[in-house]
Each structure stands twice: as structure tokens, then as C-alpha cells.
């Protein structure tokens, strides 16, 4: 049943969070610092294993590497296959990196039920790594849904105010309804083809009507996750109510599951339906970019501003995915990675402010550059990254997406570029209102610049964003062949 | 189907006649009698006195228990009748199956005996 290749770094990366989870289970909950140390070490070891994935990755082929197959249910022709290619490798790296950051962020801000909190995060990490590495439709669905459980608990238990319950319900039920329609489509595909293995399904031709129906079912699930307008309401609620680390992982990785789903499943399996529905996606994306940006301008809650700007950025991502050419798809993947870093960093900055002053309303913050200069510099850098300033990764991403879209449709590119202007508007305005101006000492009297732990959380993100912005070829070269083979499969 | 039911037609006629007869008697008694109820007439009779107490007594459940036990053992007897007629013809298996049946009912009997269902007071 098992190939005894446990030295497969992918399996090691997948299993390390589980080992950490089991160790955490047996530690009594009163030894809080020991729990945190164990969790941090587990996350670091997982990150190191995933670096091995990058180092040993062969970027000159588009086949699935580090693959492993387990006989799960052979009599029903269902197997458990793992494998990575260029598209999924970076998501796994992002997951492991963000988990370390999340555990570090909650070092002192989570006060109760520490052990359960860390268990939820390690479980979440395990599920997320599996989402990005399984090559089987049924198992992708299982892990896609399983992610909901720890996230629901994180938002609901450690959230900040009473509205967290409503936010947790909305998050869970929205995603569940969308995913259940995908379940019916999955079952119909399994019944028709006889297997759910991805590589078998790639070579199966569905009829056009069936492709359209299946694509719509899959769309309902992924569109809620990304989120696309009009299924986006859960995102601002969930972000506003989640703890800082919850927001970081939600914005950083969970939204990318939707984009990954489109890339891995919708496009290769249903090519004609993709081409058929491209106008719909483009329309929804443009509405997302423009409407979400305009809504951002009106928000007063810091986290909601960043949440709506996430919706706007993911509009770019979907344009990139559905432009169906090399630049567009590479740009969307890079934009997803960069958004994972930038939004997480912005949520971290807001979390730093929240830890100190316990409020997220914009009106109380002003003139922070005078008392928190180091924080101000980081926040400035991330603001520029958010709006797509050249030199940061999101510029490269948006540039590639716009190049890809330009080859398809000029008007689309025109409207998308307006989105960049609006992005600049809300980002710079937010930064201005918080950092410059006079200090509002009638609300706050004590200020403190970022501590060493927070510095070391923000610095890697900064360096990564700079690296991706100045020398993106080191990332793009890995995914080149995989994206090329994806496009070839289409046409 | 018509052949079988000619014998039952007698029973049907009997049923109908008895039904009509009882309805006639009842309705005649209800319609032809002058009914002027007043308080003294409908009160309970207790040798001319005003009633001391409610005429109803609580139903003693042991009557019900006796009726149920009678039902069970009567059915046991009704099973014993045909068995006793053919006992010569059925082999040993038939004897022992009835003994098992009687044994189970005896266990039930012992149970109710010790539980006190047979105490009359």
C-alpha cells in the first residue's frame, strides 16, 4: 500500500504539522510558553522542508514532481495522489511561511485557550498544504471543505467582538453552499468517467453542455472563495472580526485556494466552457476592481479597508487567469503570491496598531509617523506595494496581467488600469490619514514603536516583496513550463 | 366468489334484522316517552336520602389484571385442544415443541406469581 519513500519532501512537509499537532495534544494547556515553542518549531521545520521542495524542484519539466500514490479505495477506483508542479509549489511555500508569521504574531496577543489556537493553526496548515498538493478531485474537495472547520473556530473563538459569531456563520455557510454544488458536479463526473484522478480527467472530453454545467458548479464554489462580486460579503465581515493571525492566513492563503482551483481544475477540465464564460468573468472582475475600490474609499474600519482592497486585487487575478495566455496566467500567479505577502503584511501592521490601542476605527489614528517611525516606514513600503508601485512584486503581477489582457481586449485593459488609479487613491489616502497630521492625544496618550518580534515578522515580508519586484525571474522561471503546458492543453 | 357467499347471506340477514330491531326499540323508547327532567328525578338514588358520597368507586386494577391473565391462559388452552387431538400422529418433535410452549408460559406464570399478581387482597 505505501511506497516506502518517506524521504519524499512533500510527504515530510505534509506530515510535520500533524506531528506537531500530536505533540501539542499531549502537552498540558497550562504550559503556555512550551506550547508556543513547540508550535513555532514545527512551523519552522515545515518551512525548511518546503524550501527543500524549491531547491530540488526541476523547472525544466511540467510533469508532477515529488509524486506519491496511496491506494485508498482501490475497488472504487479512488486513489490518493500527491504531486507538485510549478503552479502549486509557491503556494505551499507561502503557506508554510505565513504559518510561522501567524504563530509569531499571536505570541502575546492571544490570552486564552492557547493550546487549541495553535492546534487550529497547525491543522489549518496541514489542510492547506494538502489542498495545494493533491492531484485528485475528490481529495481536493475534501481538503477544500476541511479548511472551513479550523477557520470557523479561529474566527469565532478568538475574534474581537460580538459580531464575530455572525461573521463566522457567514463565512462557513457561504463557502459551504457553494462547495456543495461542486460536490454534485464531482459526483456526476465520477459516475461518468469512473475515476476522479486529475491526470485521467485531463484526457477525457466532456460534451459542451456538460462542460458548461460542470463549470458553473465549480464556479459557484471557487467564486465564493476568491471572492468575486457578488459573493464577497463574507470577506469584510470575516476579516474585521478575526484575530490578526486569522486575517493573515485568510487573506494570505485561503483566497488563493479559489484561484488555484480555477487554474488546476476549471481550465484544464472544461476548456470550451472557460472560453464560453470568459466575458462573464471579465465583467465580474471589472465590477470587482472598480466597485470594491470605490467601497474602500468609504470604509472607516482599517481591516475592512484592506479586506475590500483584497477583493479588488483578486479581480485582477481573475482577469489574469481567464486571459488564457502565458503572461496573464503567470501574472495572476505572481499577483496571488504578492497579494499573499502584501495583504498579510498590511494586516500585520493593523494588528500591531490594534494590539496597542485596541481599536480599528480610522478616526482615532493620526500622525503616527511622529511617534512610530519604524512602523511608518514599513507601513509606507507596504502601502506602495499594495498600490502596485514599480519595484514591488504587485507591480510585476499587475503588469503581466494587463499585458495578457491587452492581447485579448483593449477596453478590458482600460478599465482595469482605472483600477490601479483607484488603488493608489485608497492606499495613499489611508496612509496619509494614519501617519501624517497631528497626533490625536485626546484619544491616545501612550505610543510604542514596533518591538523586535514584530520587526522580525515584517522584515522577511519586505525583503520577499522587494525580491519578487526586482528579480521576478527567479519565481517566474519555475512556473514557466507548468503554465505553458496548461495553455497547451487548452488549445 | 359468488358460490362462497351464499352461506354468509343468512348471517347478513340476521345481522340486519337484529340491528333494525334494536334501533327500533331504542328509538321508540326515546321518542314516545314524555321526558320532563327535574333535579330530584335525575339525582342518584340512595334509599330516599340525599347522597352522602360519590357513587363512583375507583376501578380496582386487579380485575383488569385477572382479565388479561385469563386471556393469556385461555389462548394457551385453545392451542392445547387441537394438539391433544393429533398427538398420536405427530412425531416426538411435535410433543417437545408444545412442551417448550407450555414451559415458556409456565415461566410467565411463575413470574406473575412471585410478583404478587395473584394476591387478591
Amino acid at each position: 500500500m505505501l511506497n516506502l519513500e518517506f524521504l519524499n519532501p512533500l510527504i515530510l512537509t505534509s506530515l510535520t504539522p500533524l506531528v506537531g499537532l500530536l505533540i501539542l495534544f499531549v502537552i498540558p494547556a497550562t504550559k503556555e510558553s512550551f506550547c508556543r515553542l513547540v508550535a513555532l518549531n514545527t512551523a519552522c521545520i515545515t518551512f525548511l522542508f518546503s524550501l527543500i521542495l524549491w531547491i530540488q524542484f526541476d523547472s525544466h519539466t511540467s510533469l508532477f514532481q515529488f509524486s506519491a500514490t496511496f491506494d485508498w479505495f482501490p475497488s472504487a477506483n479512488l486513489y490518493y495522489t500527491l504531486g507538485i508542479d510549478g503552479i502549486s509549489m509557491f503556494f505551499i511555500l507561502l503557506t508554510t511561511l505565513l504559518t510561522i508569521i501567524c504563530i509569531l504574531v499571536s505570541w502575546s496577543s492571544v490570552k486564552f485557550l492557547i493550546k487549541e489556537y495553535l492546534i487550529c493553526f497547525l491543522l489549518l496548515e496541514f489542510f492547506l498544504i494538502q489542498v495545494f498538493s493533491v492531484l485528485d478531485l475528490l481529495w481536493f474537495y475534501i481538503f477544500f471543505e476541511s479548511v472551513l472547520i479550523p477557520m470557523f473556530l479561529i474566527v469565532g473563538i478568538w475574534g474581537s467582538r460580538e459580531r464575530k459569531i455572525r461573521a463566522a456563520y457567514q463565512f462557513f455557510l457561504y463557502t459551504l453552499v457553494g462547495s456543495l454544488l461542486m460536490l454534485i458536479a464531482l459526483l456526476t463526473i465520477y459516475f461518468q468517467v469512473g475515476s476522479t484522478d486529475l491526470q485521467i480527467l485531463w484526457h477525457y472530453n466532456f460534451t459542451e453542455i456538460k462542460q458548461i454545467i460542470f463549470w458553473l458548479a465549480f464556479f459557484s464554489s471557487f467564486a465564493v472563495k476568491i471572492p468575486m462580486i457578488p459573493f464577497h460579503i463574507w470577506l469584510p465581515e470575516a476579516h474585521a472580526e478575526a484575530p490578526t493571525a486569522g486575517s493573515v492566513i485568510l487573506a494570505g492563503i485561503l483566497l488563493k485556494m479559489g484561484g488555484y482551483g480555477f487554474l488546476r481544475f476549471s481550465i484544464p477540465l472544461f476548456p470550451e466552457a472557460c472560453i464560453y464564460f470568459t466575458p462573464l468573468i471579465f465583467t465580474l472582475s471589472i465590477i470587482a476592481i472598480l466597485y470594491a475600490s470605490l467601497t474602500t474609499l468609504r470604509q472607516v474600519d482599517l481591516k475592512k479597508i484592506i479586506a475590500y482592497s483584497s477583493v479588488s486585487h483578486m479581480g485582477f487575478v481573475t482577469i489574469g487567469i481567464f486571459s488564457l495566455n502565458l503572461h496573464g496566467i503567470e501574472g495572476s500567479i505572481l499577483l496571488m503570491l504578492s497579494h499573499g505577502l502584501v495583504s498579510s503584511a498590511l494586516f500585520l501592521c493593523i494588528g500591531i496598531l490594534y494590539d496597542r490601542h485596541k481599536t480599528r476605527i480610522l478616526k482615532y489614528y493620526s500622525g503616527l509617523m511622529q511617534v512610530m517611525p519604524l512602523f511608518g516606514i514599513f507601513f509606507l513600503f507596504f502601502t506602495f506595494a499594495n498600490l502596485g508601485f514599480p519595484g514591488t512584486s504587485s507591480f510585476i503581477g499587475e503588469l503581466l496581467v494587463l499585458i495578457g489582457a491587452f492581447q485579448l481586449n483593449r477596453i478590458l485593459t482600460f478599465f482595469a488600469s482605472i483600477g490601479m488609479i483607484l488603488g493608489a487613491a485608497y492606499s495613499i489616502w489611508l496612509f496619509n490619514r494614519i501617519s501624517f497630521g497631528t497626533l490625536k492625544t485626546q484619544y491616545f496618550s501612550f505610543f510604542q514603536d514596533i518591538s523586535r518580534r514584530e520587526f522580525w515578522i515584517l522584515l522577511p515580508l519586505t525583503l520577499l516583496i522587494l525580491w519578487m519586484g526586482i528579480y521576478p525571474i527567479s519565481f517566474l522561471s519555475e512556473m514557466h513550463f507548468s503554465v505553458l503546458s496548461l495553455i497547451e492543453q487548452l488549445f | 366468489m359468488k358460490l362462497i357467499f351464499t352461506e354468509y347471506s343468512i348471517i347478513l340477514i340476521f345481522l340486519v334484522i337484529s340491528f333494525i330491531l334494536s334501533i327500533t326499540i331504542f328509538s321508540l323508547s326515546y321518542l314516545l316517552i314524555p321526558q320532563k327532567a327535574d333535579q330530584e328525578k335525575v339525582s342518584a338514588y340512595e334509599c330516599g336520602f340525599n347522597p352522602f358520597d360519590d357513587a363512583r368507586a375507583t376501578f380496582d386494577v386487579r380485575f383488569y389484571l385477572v382479565a388479561i391473565l385469563f386471556l393469556i391462559f385461555d389462548l394457551e388452552i385453545s392451542f392445547l385442544f387441537p394438539w391433544s387431538l393429533v398427538l398420536g400422529n405427530i412425531p416426538l418433535f411435535g410433543f417437545w415443541s408444545m412442551i417448550v410452549f407450555l414451559g415458556i408460559l409456565t415461566i410467565g406464570f411463575v413470574y406473575e406469581w412471585y410478583k404478587g399478581a395473584l394476591e387478591w387482597e
Partner: protein, 491 residues
């Protein structure tokens, strides 16, 4: 001689019942011993009897033969169903150990009735003739009527027993009436003779009266299964009966009566499939609908679990529509998971007692578990896992059960009802999440003091938890058993 071989476990249990009855009645009315209470003795004796009968049933070889003048059948299904029923009863016995001592259910007859009910259910799985169906169902129902009203000092219990008796007797009358119509029109009562009679008889030669008779029997069986629209008795009866008896009603009879329903519908009346498919469809639709919406308004545990099991029955009936091997095996698989889940949740509700000065209270209201996460974190975790499994969230076992049932429904192109079932499953998920919210999210002002659970019921809770959490590792093992169990129903 094989006549006796196939009912050997039943004969063993019956002999033991007689011996136990004598032992009980002799000793409990012995004045010089002080009229001892035999509760604990009986508990352990019944456990021993059940374990031995399990070993007896297990060591038989599964034969395929008709017994007792074609009244009973013995095949793969009966062999495994007997084992499952005896195992489930052992599980139920362990979880109600503590309850009967605590609630002073001192009648030793209770345990004798339980053993008789087990014998009845073992006979139900073997029934092969219309008369035998009636006899065994009456046998089981009569015992259940007495069990529902076993607590003589509670008027709830008496009311529940009375309601169950009146409605159940009415349903049994329907069963008898339907059987007599079928016998009157065909002259046969044996199920296999009937199936041979109907073999070619579709279309023009079926008289309408036969369908009427068939519908009466089907209605009676659906009543016993508490499928909608014949479900009205189950919330009231579950509510009034003492909770260990509710556990007994909920866990055990479903598999036996399902087996009977399979034999009746799929083996005998398979040629009438065009008639009963729409009836089962309506019953499944209504069950899922009523089970979902009925549980919304509930505030007490027992009624909530009653509506939840009506929901599960809807899923059972859903997979019955196609009538081929895979769908029957998916129903049996769902049945096994249902037994495991219900054992787990009843292990929790039967044995949890709260202490508020000078009295210990049973768990009655849904809001009694508020703040359970703080008082007993592991119990809260266990309850969360079981509730998520009932809702059908991966990776718990409940998801896989629903997956296979939906697969069976999709195979028949019943997309409308599948989508409906899936959406209702989302709505049902809401109230399961509401319970989890009660456990984890609320901030508790009055902490509840809980007594520790009885050791045996925590054993059952643990076993159920392991089953639910780790079933997905080896689904094949269970599916082989269910496939074997569903072979006899093929036409």
C-alpha cells in the same frame, strides 16, 4: 437441522431471558435477603449474554438458506446485520450503565425487555414472509411501547408510551391489512414466491388493488422507520421516554427495518419500481425537509436528535431510488456510520449531569452546553467532531456516508433531489454550527459544574470518535462488508 442453526443466537438469548427472569423474580421478592435491587447484577449479566451471543453469531458460517418452512431466511445480510445489531446493543448497554443507576430505574424487567427487543430485531432481519414480517414487527413494537413508558413515576414517559402505542398499533393494523389484501389477490405470502409471481407482470396485468395493498404495507414500514410524512410520533416519543431508552430507539431498530424494507421493495416488489420510486422520492424529500426545518425551532436535546434522525432517514431513502448494488451498499454504509455517530452523541447526552447546589440536573436543554469548552475541553472537542460529522463536513465519516448516498442518487439522474438534499444539508449545518457556537464561542458568566462521565460511556464516546475521525483512512474495509451485505437484495 439447519433450521435451528440459523437461529442459534436467538435461541441462546431466549433461554437466557427465561433463566434471568426466574433469577430476577425469585431474588427480588425474597424477604430474608431484604428484597435486593438487582440492577447492577442484571447490567453485567446482560452484557455477558450479549458478548456470548456475539461470539456465537460470529463463529457461525454465513449460509444461504430458507428456514422454518420458508418463513425465515439466512444469508449474508442477516449474518452481518445480526453482528452489527448485537455490537450496537453492547455499545448502548455500556453507555447506559451509569444512567440507570443514577435515575433509579430499578426494575430488572427493563433489561429483560431490552434482551427481548434484541431478539425481535434479530428476527426482523431474517423475516421472509408477510406473516413473519407482521409477527416480528409487532414483537419489536410491543416491547418498544413498554420501554417508552418504563419510568412509571414520570408522566412524560407514560404519555410517550401511550402515543407510541396508539399510533404504532394503528400502523401495524395497516401492515396487516395490506398483507391480507396482497394475500387475497395473489394467494401467496412468501416474499420469494411473490417476486417470482411478479416477474413478468408489468403493465397490463396488475390490478390496482394489489398496488393499494402494497402501499399499505409500505406506509406501515415507513412509519416504523419514522420517515416523513409518518414521522409525527418520533419527536414526542423520543422526548418523553427516559434518555437511555431514546438512545435505544434511535440507534438500533433502523438497520433492521431498513433490511426489511430492502427485501420488501427491492426483492419482492422490484417490478413495481415505477410505482414505488415516486413514493420513496416524496418520502425522502419530505423527510429531509421536515428533518431540517423541524430541528431549527427545537430547544431540547431529545427532540433535536429526533428531527436530526428524521433527516438521516431521508438520506437513507434517497439512495434507495436506484436499487442497484452500489446504492444498497451506500445505504448500509450510511446506516453503520449513523449507528456510530448516534452512539457517540448519546454517550454524551445520557451521561452528562450538571450540578447546581444540592441537585444534579440532567442535560435537557440545548443551551445547557454553553461554555462547555471552558469546563471540559476534551468533551467539547469530542462533541464538536460528532456534530460536524452529523452535518456532513469532511474529513469526518458523515461526509463520506453522504458522499456515497449522493453518488447513488446521481447515478439515477435524480439531480433535482440531490441538489435539494445538498442545500438542505447546508441549512441543517447551520443549526449544528449553532450548537458548536454555544460550546465554544459564548463568554460564560455562570460556569457549570459537571460531574465526570461514567467510565463505560466515555469508552463508547472514545470509540465513536475514533470511528468518525479515522474512518476515512480505510473506507475499503467497511465497504467490503456493506457490499457483501447488499448482494442478497439483487434481483
Amino acid at each position: 437441522m439447519y433450521n435451528f442453526y440459523s437461529i442459534l443466537p436467538e435461541i441462546y438469548i431466549l433461554c437466557n431471558i427465561c433463566i434471568l427472569l426466574m433469577y430476577g423474580v425469585f431474588f427480588s421478592t425474597f424477604p430474608s435477603l431484604g428484597y435486593p435491587l438487582l440492577n447492577k447484577n442484571f447490567n453485567l449479566l446482560v452484557l455477558q449474554i450479549l458478548i456470548f451471543s456475539f461470539l456465537l453469531a460470529f463463529s457461525q458460517t454465513p449460509l444461504n438458506l430458507l428456514n422454518w418452512n420458508n418463513l425465515l431466511i439466512s444469508d449474508f445480510f442477516t449474518y452481518y446485520a445480526k453482528l452489527i445489531i448485537i455490537l450496537a446493543t453492547i455499545g448502548w448497554l455500556l453507555l447506559s450503565f451509569g444512567y440507570s443507576i443514577k435515575e433509579k430505574l430499578n426494575y430488572f424487567e427493563f433489561w429483560i425487555l431490552v434482551l427481548l427487543a434484541v431478539v425481535a430485531m434479530l428476527f426482523i432481519t431474517q423475516a421472509y414472509d408477510l406473516l413473519t414480517i407482521y409477527l416480528t414487527i409487532e414483537f419489536q413494537s410491543l416491547i418498544f411501547y413498554i420501554l417508552a413508558s418504563i419510568k412509571r413515576t414520570s408522566e412524560f414517559s407514560t404519555e410517550a408510551g401511550l402515543k407510541y402505542f396508539i399510533l404504532g398499533a394503528f400502523a401495524s393494523a395497516f401492515l396487516l391489512f395490506g398483507s391480507s389484501i396482497v394475500y387475497g389477490l395473489t394467494g401467496l405470502t412468501n416474499l420469494s414466491d411473490l417476486s417470482k409471481l411478479f416477474l413478468g407482470l408489468i403493465g397490463n396485468e396488475i390490478s390496482f388493488n394489489l398496488i393499494i395493498g402494497f402501499i399499505f404495507i409500505l406506509v406501515a414500514l415507513l412509519f416504523k422507520l419514522s420517515a416523513a410524512p409518518f414521522h409525527v410520533w418520533s419527536p414526542d416519543v423520543y422526548e418523553g421516554a427516559p434518555i437511555s431508552v431514546t438512545a435505544f430507539f434511535s440507534i438500533l431498530p433502523k438497520l433492521a427495518i431498513l433490511g426489511l424494507l430492502f427485501r420488501f421493495l427491492l426483492f419482492t416488489f422490484y417490478d413495481f419500481i415505477s410505482y414505488w420510486q415516486s413514493i420513496i422520492l416524496i418520502a425522502a424529500f419530505l423527510s429531509i425537509l421536515i428533518g431540517t426545518f423541524g430541528a431549527f425551532a427545537q430547544t431540547k436535546w431529545k427532540r433535536f436528535l429526533a428531527y436530526s434522525s428524521i433527516n438521516h432517514i431521508g438520506f437513507f431513502l434517497l439512495a434507495l431510488l436506484s436499487g442497484d448494488l452500489n446504492s444498497i451498499s451506500s445505504v448500509i454504509f450510511y446506516g453503520i456510520i449513523y449507528i456510530i455517530t448516534m452512539s457517540g452523541i448519546f454517550a454524551f447526552t445520557v451521561n452528562v449531569n450538571f450540578y447546581a447546589y444540592s441537585k444534579t440536573y440532567q442535560l435537557r436543554y440545548l443551551s445547557n452546553i454553553k461554555g462547555l469548552a471552558k469546563t471540559d475541553p476534551f468533551l467539547a472537542f469530542a462533541l464538536t467532531i460528532i456534530l460536524f460529522s452529523m452535518a456532513g463536513i469532511p474529513p469526518m465519516a458523515g461526509f463520506f456516508a453522504k458522499l456515497f448516498v449522493l453518488l447513488a442518487a446521481v447515478q439515477v439522474d435524480a439531480f433535482g433531489i440531490s441538489i435539494f438534499a445538498v442545500i438542505m444539508s447546508c441549512i441543517a449545518c447551520f443549526y449544528y454550527i449553532r450548537l458548536i457556537k454555544n460550546i465554544y464561542f459564548d463568554s460564560v458568566i455562570n460556569w457549570k459544574v459537571m460531574e465526570p462521565m461514567h467510565k463505560m460511556s466515555s469508552l463508547i464516546l472514545g470509540l465513536s470518535l475514533i470511528g468518525i475521525l479515522f474512518l476515512f483512512i480505510d473506507v475499503e474495509m467497511v465497504s467490503i462488508i456493506t457490499l457483501l451485505m447488499s448482494i442478497p437484495f439483487l434481483h
